[in-house]
């Protein structure tokens, strides 16, 4: 009943409208345009760095995805806290929290992958116990736990309650983890936070491309969250309808009495 309701192919005659709206379409177009520009500029138009060479090109995808990954986490945390405090039955905040987490986990994975590829080129290793990298890895695992909790709830209200609490705990624990790791690493000689982009001299075009990258990925994030939280709403509606239909059937089978 709460299984994959997407496989139910009964169409409703009054389901004419789609998922997109003018707003989401505009954002989508902006995202595509900006992404294309970043792709072209990052790979071909911008100059190579004096120190790193062409490896610096990874920066144009790595830095924006990192930024979005943290933004998504903040959105999930804020929406979850808002849901906990608001106490109205509306699940809108919960859906935004869930959608933002789904997208955030993806962006975080991309951040870790592109980051380790960049590190391989600049530092020679795929991984260093740098506070930012380590905290990002922890954030990633925390997200996965959050999504796992969302995946096993019962009613939408229960799911919202549980995941909101988990997200709020995450808002507490991530700064603590970061602080601890910073302290931990400060004991070792490389006390400076290692950044592949630490010693990059950025000229005008590089800066502009980086900024466009942040913009492009932000638009992409917005489009994805808007669409995915609409998807969550529809999934909940379909699930409810399925429940009501099952109860009605049960009543019919038992002559008006729910066994």
């Amino acid at each position: 009943m709460y299984g994959d309701n997407d496989m139910n192919h009964d169409s409703t005659p009054d389901a004419v409208g789609g998922v997109a709206t003018t707003t989401s379409r505009t954002i989508g177009v902006l995202a595509i345009v900006a992404m294309t520009w970043v792709l072209v500029s990052g790979l071909f138009l911008t100059p190579a760095d004096i120190n790193q060479g062409d490896a610096v090109r990874i920066m144009y995808v790595h830095v924006p995805t990192a930024w979005i990954a943290y933004l998504a986490f903040i959105v999930t945390g804020a929406a979850s806290l808002a849901w906990l405090l608001k106490k109205s039955p509306s699940l809108a905040f919960d859906r935004v929290a869930g959608a933002s987490a789904e997208v955030g986990v993806l962006f975080m994975a991309m951040t870790l992958i592109s980051g380790s590829l960049w590190g391989r080129l600049t530092w020679g290793t795929f991984w260093v116990w740098d506070p930012r990298l380590t905290t990002t890895a922890f954030l990633f695992v925390t997200y996965i736990g959050y999504l796992a909790v969302r995946g096993l709830g019962g009613s939408p209200q229960q799911r919202a309650q549980r995941s909101a609490v988990i997200a709020s705990l995450a808002v507490l624990e991530i700064p603590l983890v970061h602080f601890s790791v910073v302290l931990w690493r400060s004991l070792h000689q490389s006390a400076s936070v290692l950044r592949p982009d630490g010693d990059v001299k950025m000229d005008g075009l590089m800066l502009f491309t980086l900024f466009s990258g942040v913009l492009a990925f932000t638009f992409t994030f917005l489009w994805l969250v808007i669409h995915r939280q609409r998807m969550l709403l529809m999934r909940d509606v379909v699930g409810e309808k399925g429940l009501e239909a099952a109860i009605r059937e049960r009543r019919r089978d038992h002559g008006g009495v729910v066994a």
Binding site: V149, L152, I166, L176, V181
Partner: protein
């Protein structure tokens, strides 16, 4: 007065949990031996006396963490088995009191566990604890244990009654208690005078542990009611 009744409830709940343990001896008979066995396994895996002495601090707390999940799950399994937690909640018992009580019971059991593990480290890994370091060590244990107990009670309460909680609980808890592992390891190494640490260097790490315990203590007290409600 609200605060008086909270403490009273806490005492009653803690007393109940500890009595259950006292009658069944699960922690003493099964979990503590498991943890001691883990310490032995570390020796097999690492196979180097100098190395073992150096990392002894970390190993003690790793073994504690591995046992923590089992202890927490058991602490809430005894509640959900008879629906006792729901009964308490429905009866209007102050959730903060329940939180404090269960955390307190966890503190006692964890403390016993840690003493055993530190003893194991002294015997198996040949670390020494000078009398002057004992204060540091005990304070570290106390602050770390408080933090672990608070986190364990929060997540344990949340996971209680959820399907698949055995596999979910470690995944949820480990990121949260990483700071305790970092801080407790460093402070314990300072108390053992291993890894080039001097006893006085341990105190800032105890500070981290205290902050951690405070954050999750306050968090748990305020949030426990919404955690256990359905």
């Amino acid at each position: 007065m609200k605060s008086q009744s909270t403490l009273r409830i806490a005492r009653v709940v803690a007393g109940k949990d500890l009595q259950i343990e006292f009658r069944s001896h699960v922690v003493i008979n099964r979990i503590v031996p498991f943890a001691a066995l883990v310490m032995v396994m570390f020796a097999f895996a690492l196979d180097d006396d100098l190395l073992l002495a150096r990392v002894a601090g970390g190993l003690v707390w790793l073994a504690t963490l591995f046992s923590l999940f089992i202890i927490v799950q058991r602490s809430f399994a005894i509640e959900t088995a008879d629906g006792a937690l729901d009964a308490l909640r429905v009866a209007g018992v102050n959730p903060a009191g329940i939180f404090l009580g269960k955390a307190l019971a966890l503190v006692v059991q964890l403390f016993l566990l840690e003493i055993t593990l530190i003893g194991a480290a002294i015997v198996l890994y040949r670390v020494h604890v000078e009398p002057s370091s004992a204060v540091l060590l005990v304070t570290c244990m106390f602050c770390a244990t408080l933090g672990l107990a608070f986190v364990g009670t929060i997540f344990g309460g949340l996971a209680a009654g959820m399907r698949g909680r055995e596999t979910l609980l470690p995944l949820l808890m480990l990121p949260a208690i990483a700071p305790v592992l970092i801080g407790a390891t460093k402070a314990t190494e300072a108390a053992f005078n291993t890894s080039g640490m001097v006893t006085s260097e341990g105190w800032p790490w105890v500070g981290l542990l205290a902050v951690f315990a405070a954050v999750f203590g306050v968090g748990g007290l305020s949030a426990f009611s919404s955690l256990i409600e359905e």
